[in-house]
């Protein structure tokens, strides 16, 4: 864990020297993967899909195109534009190959084709981009909201704490899936609403965690020191407390991203996910379920494998990190 001195160093205007130290620290953090074998395995699993997501097509260079893909509205352009095709995936996720429906893995179609004659690998690859954008994004927004609330509640205590936590407790009391159902059934299924639902469901848990950490750190000497120095509250919260709480928060976030991937898949299965022909993994598994019964497990198999890989990967990294923290405690 970072010490108070290191944190203080962050506040200085950054001379070149700090920049090297930053690299050094990044190096130390990456060292985690050298020291922890399970974290390394996790990194490989997640990293695989991150690479796939980045190079699923040559769209990376144009942010506008990328945004459009996440929104889902430019999806049809993939079918015709050769410029998007990358070394990683030769086909577009919506391109239908005549007479090649429902095939198993082959040289042309590495993972086979679906009921529409679309290349499953291309769909998985583009799906990874959707999933690996939506899931971390929703967790980040939840982190922003939940973190702020938790920080405020923990720091100020009293009524602020009581009221905030009671409301958040009410949201935590919901089984998450119910919250998704109520929200998405009321507001409709779209990428934005999926993001909102996951954010709302996740924020209270983060707030609770951050509040707990804040309560703990608040009692430390360096916070008291800052308070006597007359630093403003927001300054103490953002620059004294938050950096010292980041370890558990990062671990927690890792797990949350995993659950978000899982949740997006579940929503897709329940018919409340991203609209077709979106290649998100939940929809791929959902579409493949009826094929399993017809003796062609490929689509559902690859889809669930992909979801499992990312969730397991994130879990392993989180495991590795918490083991690491325990070791230095």
């Amino acid at each position: 864990m970072a010490t108070a001195e290191q944190t203080a160093g962050d506040q200085l205007p950054s001379p070149p020297a700090t920049s090297t130290s930053r690299w050094q620290r990044l190096g130390t953090q990456l060292g985690l993967f050298r020291r922890s074998r399970i974290a390394l395995v996790g990194l490989c699993l997640v990293g695989f899909w991150v690479v796939v997501a980045l190079f699923a097509d040559n769209c990376l260079v144009t942010p506008a195109c990328y945004a459009g893909i996440v929104r889902g509205d430019d999806i049809t352009t993939w079918a015709t534009s050769d410029e998007y095709r990358s070394w990683l995936s030769r086909y577009s996720p919506v391109e239908q190959f005549r007479g090649r429906t429902r095939e198993g893995p082959s040289w042309d179609h590495w993972l086979g084709t679906d009921t529409r004659g679309r290349d499953i690998w291309a769909r998985l690859a583009h799906g990874s981009r959707l999933i690996l954008t939506l899931a971390p994004l929703s967790v980040m927004v939840a982190l922003l909201i939940g973190g702020t609330l938790g920080l405020l509640a923990g720091y100020y205590g009293g009524m602020v704490d009581e009221v905030t936590m009671r409301i958040l407790d009410a949201i935590i009391a919901f089984p998450q899936i119910l919250l998704y159902l109520v929200i998405i059934a009321s507001f409709g299924a779209s990428a934005t609403n999926v993001l909102i639902a996951i954010t709302i469901a996740g924020a209270p848990g983060i707030a609770r965690l951050v509040r707990g950490l804040t309560l703990d750190i608040k009692t430390r000497d360096y916070v008291a020191a800052a308070q006597t120095q007359g630093e403003r509250s927001w300054y103490i919260m953002v620059f004294e407390i938050l950096p010292n709480a980041r370890g558990p928060i990062i671990i927690d976030s890792m797990l949350r991203v995993g659950y978000a991937v899982f949740s997006i898949g579940t929503l897709g299965f329940l018919g409340l996910g991203l609209p077709p022909p979106s290649p998100d993994w939940g929809s791929i598994v959902q579409a493949g379920r009826s094929s399993i019964q017809a003796g062609r497990p490929w689509e559902a198999l690859w889809g669930s494998l992909a979801i499992a890989m990312v969730v397991v990967g994130l879990n392993l990294i989180a495991d590795g990190m918490s083991e690491e923290t325990r070791r230095y405690r």
Binding site: A170, V285, A308
Partner: protein, 440 residues
């Protein structure tokens, strides 16, 4: 201890209150008009206005929230000046609201011109059935002058809603009867849809089936509790056991297999693992039924073999998490000084484990298990959908997809109550198991 209990209980009430507000508010904020959502947008503005008035949707949100929670029958009984209650009409297989107490004659009202009120009377018979109906024309004395100087009459109309007629006001309204929309004259000017309220076990009428939600809800809830109960009883001890084993053999192959296997199973979505289980065990091997088929005249309780695959599916997802928590807790306890001391002191290894380690090691997982009920409910929604199981989970999903707001609200509230109460239990168990808290 008692103080703590009281405090927790108070929190529970506050939480549930907040939950009910949230559930109500989300449906409130949903875009679109409820009448249109339910009846389709081919309805005319007149029909929409009548529908809203009859179902109390034209009332302020606060009033509707109060009626939803506490009911509207007392308020209506006060206005009518006589008790109102629900009676079962066996002939039409229908339960409806009438004016009248538990015995004697019950009444409903109707007007064809806004001037005379016709009273529909039926006797309640000793065998619980209702006698034949007769119609009586009421005299002038029934009208009461209100603050605005209008002559009004409160009664219960033929649809079983409390209604207020204003004398001489012969207006027409649209009514959605079982035979479709009908335009009728002599319509009431105000309505109170009658219900006992969620707190008294009556969350209203389903907008889709037009039956009281509670009639569907209760059997569905029992089915779900049956499924979840069996799943819980099988999965959790198994998870704890395997977790303890993994913790004892930390770092060895057995531990690796268990914890990695658990992780992978947990990380595979139940909607995928469920189908693979169906294909393997139901289709290929033919060992278990692949869908929950409950023939008419029987209930799920008579056919527990239907539940094998749903429970296996739930097990795959739920087992891993608890297993991992138990394992972590166990290995942590084993590293503590007092266990080491005990072992070094020469106490038999298994005795140390059994007497000292286990109790402390199970502290964390048991709390986690109870908190995990929220997860179990999520799994149950998916599993019920996957296997066509007629439980609360599939009911929630269907209500959500059909925009059946009252059914969705009621089912959600019930599931949340289950979740919250289990969390309270978790707290209590934790307190009981943890001496440090118990004695402070």
């Amino acid at each position: 201890m008692l103080k703590l209990l009281l405090r927790r209980f108070l929190f529970l009430i506050v939480t549930l209150f907040a939950v009910s507000v949230i559930v109500f508010a989300i449906s409130e904020l949903a875009p679109g008009d409820m009448a249109t959502n339910v009846l389709g947008n081919t309805i005319t503005p007149d029909q929409r206005a009548s529908f809203n008035a009859q179902n109390g949707l034209d009332q302020p949100a606060l009033t509707r929230y109060r009626r939803w929670m506490l009911g509207s029958d007392r308020e209506a009984a006060r206005l009518i000046g006589a008790p109102v209650d629900r009676f079962y009409d066996a002939e039409n297989n229908q339960t409806g609201w009438w004016v009248g107490g538990s015995e004697g004659t019950i009444y409903r009202h109707r007007s064809e011109d806004g001037e005379t009120i016709l009273q529909l009377e039926r006797d309640t018979l000793p065998d619980g059935k209702l006698g034949p109906s007769r119609i009586v024309t009421l005299g002038d004395e029934i009208w009461v002058t209100n603050d605005e100087g209008e002559e009004i009459f409160w009664g219960v109309n033929e649809d079983g809603r409390a209604a207020m007629w204003i004398r001489g006001l012969n207006q027409s309204e649209e009514r959605l009867t079982r035979a479709g929309w009908i335009s009728t004259a002599g319509a009431p000017s105000a309505y109170i849809p009658l219900q006992k309220g969620l707190l008294r076990g009556d969350p209203g009428i389903s907008l889709i089936t037009r039956q009281p939600v509670i009639e569907t809800l209760v059997p569905r809830l029992l089915n779900t509790l049956f499924l979840a109960g069996i799943a819980f009883v099988i999965i959790m001890p198994l998870a704890l056991f395997l977790g303890v084993i993994a913790g004892l053999y930390e770092g060895r192959p057995l531990d690796r297999i268990l914890s990695v296997g658990g992780l992978v199973a947990t990380a595979t979505p139940e909607f995928a693992s469920g189908v693979f289980l169906i294909v393997i065990f139901a289709v290929w091997l033919g060992w278990f039924p692949g869908a929950v088929v409950i023939p008419p005249g029987t209930s799920i309780f008579e056919q527990p073999q239907m539940l094998i695959l749903p429970i296996m599916t739930l097990m795959l997802v739920e087992l891993g998490y608890v297993l991992r928590v138990t394992r972590a807790s166990m290995s942590e306890v084993l590293r503590t000084n007092y266990i080491r001391t005990a072992v070094l002191k020469g106490l038999p290894y298994w005795k140390v484990i059994w007497r000292h380690a286990l109790r402390n090691a199970l502290l964390a997982p048991i709390t986690v298990i109870m908190l995990h009920i929220n997860w179990l409910i999520g799994g149950i929604v998916v599993v019920e959908t996957l296997f066509g199981f007629p439980g609360l989970g599939s009911y929630v999903l269907a209500s959500a997809l059909n925009n059946d707001v009252f059914a969705l609200q009621a089912a959600t509230m019930i599931l949340v109550v289950i979740a919250v109460v289990s969390q309270l239990l978790a707290d209590l168990i934790y307190v009981y198991l943890n001496p440090r808290i118990r004695y402070t």
